[in-house]
């Protein structure tokens, strides 16, 4: 059985180490926060906050307190606030240990496309280009194939890039792959998924 969204998020949470400052993207990456367990992880929200807390209780929403996905959230005892230039200074400056992001396509060279489909989706890159260029480690979490069954793990991305050679590890519903100089290396298969299943579902070179 391939992993579901929550199992992918749980697997991604294993990438995070005690004491890390981490940025989680929108979608499945957001669920990673539910699986960090006892690890002391500080979440950054790039609109200007370290120490992002859970959603507020009903009736306690604060319009001045949102995350980068514009959702109402809460603060923690450790929380700090700062402006956007400072926030991206810590991203660009390599102070954020890891980012977990969604993707439309990833290439075997670690290229990432997740911000634009020409002629269809023109919303903008937000902070994604800054994150992939600046953080210590980039982990992508996504389905292995799109809704048409085509591989999202490609020799070359077809969509406009968010970053070139920036992805370190890919976690999909089928397993875990690392980007190496020679190509993609299968680190782990989801329960009941074989290496051959992953190779069949992948357009990119697997070594």
């Amino acid at each position: 059985m391939p992993w579901d969204r929550n199992q992918m998020a749980a697997r991604a949470a294993q990438e995070l180490e005690d004491g890390m400052y981490v940025n989680l993207g929108i979608g499945i990456p957001t669920l990673v926060a539910n699986y960090v367990g006892d690890k002391d992880i500080t979440l950054q929200s790039e609109n200007g906050m370290l120490g992002m807390g859970p959603f507020p209780y009903v009736g306690e929403e604060d319009p001045d307190l949102i995350n980068a996905g514009k959702q109402t959230i809460t603060e923690l005892a450790r929380t700090s606030y700062f402006d956007s230039a400072t926030s991206f200074g810590m991203i660009r400056g390599g102070k954020i240990a890891a980012a977990v992001l969604g993707a439309m396509e990833v290439s075997e060279k670690g290229d990432l496309a997740n911000w634009m489909i020409p002629g269809k989706l023109v919303k903008g890159m937000g902070g994604a280009m800054d994150l992939v260029a600046g953080v210590g480690r980039v982990v992508v979490v996504m389905d292995h194939t799109n809704k048409h069954g085509d591989s999202k793990v490609l020799k070359e991305c077809t969509l406009p890039l968010t970053g070139k050679g920036v992805v370190d590890r890919i976690i999909t519903n089928l397993g875990v792959l690392d980007v190496t100089h020679k190509g993609l290396h299968i680190v782990e298969c989801a329960d009941g998924v074989t290496r051959d299943d992953i190779i069949t579902a992948t357009e990119a070179t697997i070594v």
């Binding site: 609109n47 919303k123 260029a133």
Partner: protein, 242 residues
């Protein structure tokens, strides 16, 4: 010198002209200068270029200035959630310059600090690098990005003293300080103006040197995505530590 004005229209008097570059604070609908935007709509000034992370929604924030077609060009990082924006952009009526979010913030900060350009790794190898100078430092490629020098900055803060020292609240700070810094003139709207001396100087987020005019007003502070969780029995604390 008096920086405090009665209304947004009075605070903007003499500052607006067609074709000007305006830098606006805010992220999504959080911490946006909603009263000053309304006053700019009412002024009828046109052909504006607006540097702002987002473009509001159809009926609130910068979306109002798009609806009246007063904006010629946006410099933004993310413009989703705005149907009228999409329509104008796809039909070629509106120019759009996408900036990575951190690059946009740093371009504002740099402009305010007198820095006309800086090199960054953000966007190397992507389409935003296509027209930009590339330079190597330590064997790695960086692209040249230019500082933003705005004609006018409009920002929202929580509190000010009458000299223009500002305090922001939570994540409503966002782009407001760098946007304030990069303007020749900055007008700030706040929820409360207090007498000088009543804010601890160590607690000021943006010194009044960056703020030329001030208004106090009532803010709608609309929430774009209201996300909550159910309250368990007996839970009362707003702040908790995992």
């Amino acid at each position: 010198m008096n920086k405090v004005y009665k209304t947004a229209a009075e605070a903007l008097d003499g500052l607006l002209h067609d074709g000007m570059l305006v830098a606006a604070g805010g992220f999504g609908l959080c911490g946006i200068p909603e009263l000053l935007i309304d006053a700019i709509v009412a002024s009828g000034v046109k052909d504006l270029t607006v540097a702002s992370n987002n473009a509001g929604v159809d009926d609130f924030g910068l979306g109002k200035l798009l609806a009246t077609r007063q904006i010629k060009k946006m410099m933004s990082s993310y413009v989703g959630e705005n149907a009228e924006f999409m329509r104008q952009y796809l039909s070629g009526e509106l120019e759009l310059e996408f900036n990575p979010q951190g690059t946009l913030a740093e371009r504002m900060r740099a402009g305010g600090a007198g820095i006309p350009g800086f090199y960054t790794q953000t966007g190397v190898g992507t389409q935003i690098a296509e027209t930009k100078e590339v330079k190597q430092f330590g064997g790695k490629d960086y692209i040249l990005e230019e500082g933003i020098f705005a004609d006018l900055s409009i920002v929202k803060a929580w509190k000010a003293d009458d000299t223009g020292n500002l305090i922001f609240r939570k994540t409503a700070r966002n782009f407001n300080p760098p946007a304030a810094m990069c303007g020749k003139v900055c007008v700030a709207e706040v929820e409360e103006i207090v007498p000088r001396g009543s804010i601890d100087p160590d607690h000021i987020h943006l010194p009044g040197i960056y703020v030329h005019r001030l208004i106090q007003g009532q803010h709608e502070k609309r929430i774009e995505q209201r996300t909550t969780r159910p309250r368990p029995e007996g839970a009362t604390r707003k702040r908790e530590e995992a």
